[in-house]
Symmetry: C2
Subunit: 253 residues, 2 copies
């Protein structure tokens, strides 16, 4: 039985609390949350604390707070020489105060409070400073997911940027598609099968093989007509820049 | 029984030939292809012609060729007063030579020759100039898909642009994610569950509700660190512009 505590009450913390509550070989010992109400629907109230001095030493303390707060939270821990990890894609392992043994437990997924996720297929990227701690992390990660990667801090930085492109920026392109539909009395639903198929395609084809569209074909007539149609400045600039980048990419290959 | 002929041998034409061959209430009468070999694996050779004068008048002639070629192909048809449609998102219904009755049959999907698609869930956007022709189109479309929309030429233009954003541009962001992974000795596979979840999320949440990431949080520390990490000029510019657009979008709401 590995004893785990979680610090935080945001999206990632809430999803972790939910999934660890269901796992038999993990004991979820405590949750730290400034406001007990925000997690009291997920865990018995006597396991919630909003006082750092009440947090006990356990096998693994997971700090799931905003990037800026990781360092100061890890300083406020009252215990020492314990294993403490954060869950951030962009923060170095060394942000954890070195009075404890440092590590990272980064689930590469987009979490929304209102949407359940299947943890089994979420890649979890692990980092620790010694083999024994890494094994603890691996055991915990394997209890909730089938997809575990060893990723160092520099690689994780790159991975987080890649994730911003394929998730946050992709979602913003969905937003633009949505806005264009609404302006033209069309339901955004028309686009949903295309969105699904575009995401499914790269399970079997490389992004380069899967690329289609006017930019890929260098179809300047369609490109100019579409640019002309767009009135919103940001949309126009994004259209121009992504078209240029697709064309430049074709030249490299 | 509705008699249909298809002109073309590209991605869209090949997918249409395949799906219409399987439907019982449609008779696929002829396929026009400049090189018979490119479609001979899909339809008996005696139904293929590369001579416009051999194309017979049928209930519905579908021109599935590149946008630029639609007008000239429709001029070369030897029959008149028949119902002729194209399959393009960006071309007006009037590109079809007016010696025949004009229409549009636009399947909103990204087609790759090497990947099969499930036509039943592909939205097909229809346009015709009279009710009887529209009904013919609707019957044909319903024989292969469950999702039919009436979309006029102006709306279709907007829809095609929206499709470029949510499919072609999205795929290019996958390409960038892929490139960043490879440069950092990471498998692109790590990103695939995130890509799937990002596409699945907007089935239940609006793109605005689903938006996460450093730009949404206006986390300038992460944004600047990530910009600093990116060395490729196009990647840097795309990062800047999409971040700006997400932040601007937050201000509007």
């Amino acid at each position: 039985m590995i004893r785990v505590s979680i610090i935080g009450s945001g999206n990632v913390a809430q999803h972790l609390i939910q999934v660890f509550s269901k796992v038999t070989d993990i004991e979820l010992v405590q949750v730290f949350s400034r406001t007990k109400e925000s997690v009291s629907h997920l865990i018995p109230i006597d396991k919630i604390t909003s006082n750092f001095s009440e947090l006990k030493a356990v096998d693994l303390t997971i700090i799931a707070v905003t990037d800026d707060a990781i360092a100061s939270v890890s300083e406020q821990l009252s215990f020492q020489n314990q294993f403490v990890v954060h869950t951030s894609g962009s923060v170095s392992i060394n942000a954890i105060d070195s009075k404890n043994r440092q590590g990272v437990f980064y689930p590469l997924q987009t979490f929304s409070k209102s949407k359940e996720v299947d943890f089994k297929i979420i890649p979890i990227c692990l980092e620790a400073k010694n083999e024994k701690d890494f094994q603890t992390l691996e055991t915990v990660a394997k209890s909730i997911s089938n997809v575990i990667y060893k990723v160092d801090s520099e690689q994780r930085k790159a991975l987080h940027i890649a994730a911003v492109f394929v998730s946050n920026f992709v979602n913003h392109l969905y937003q633009i598609g949505n806005d264009i539909c609404i302006e033209n009395d069309l339901s955004f639903d028309i686009l949903k099968p295309l969105i699904q198929e575009t995401a499914n395609k790269i399970l079997r084809l490389s992004p380069n093989e899967a690329q289609t569209g006017p930019a890929k074909r260098k179809d300047t007539q369609v490109i100019n007509a579409q640019l002309n149609f767009l009135k919103n400045d940001n949309q126009k600039e994004i259209y121009k820049l992504l078209t240029k980048s697709i064309i430049d990419n074709g030249k490299k290959l």
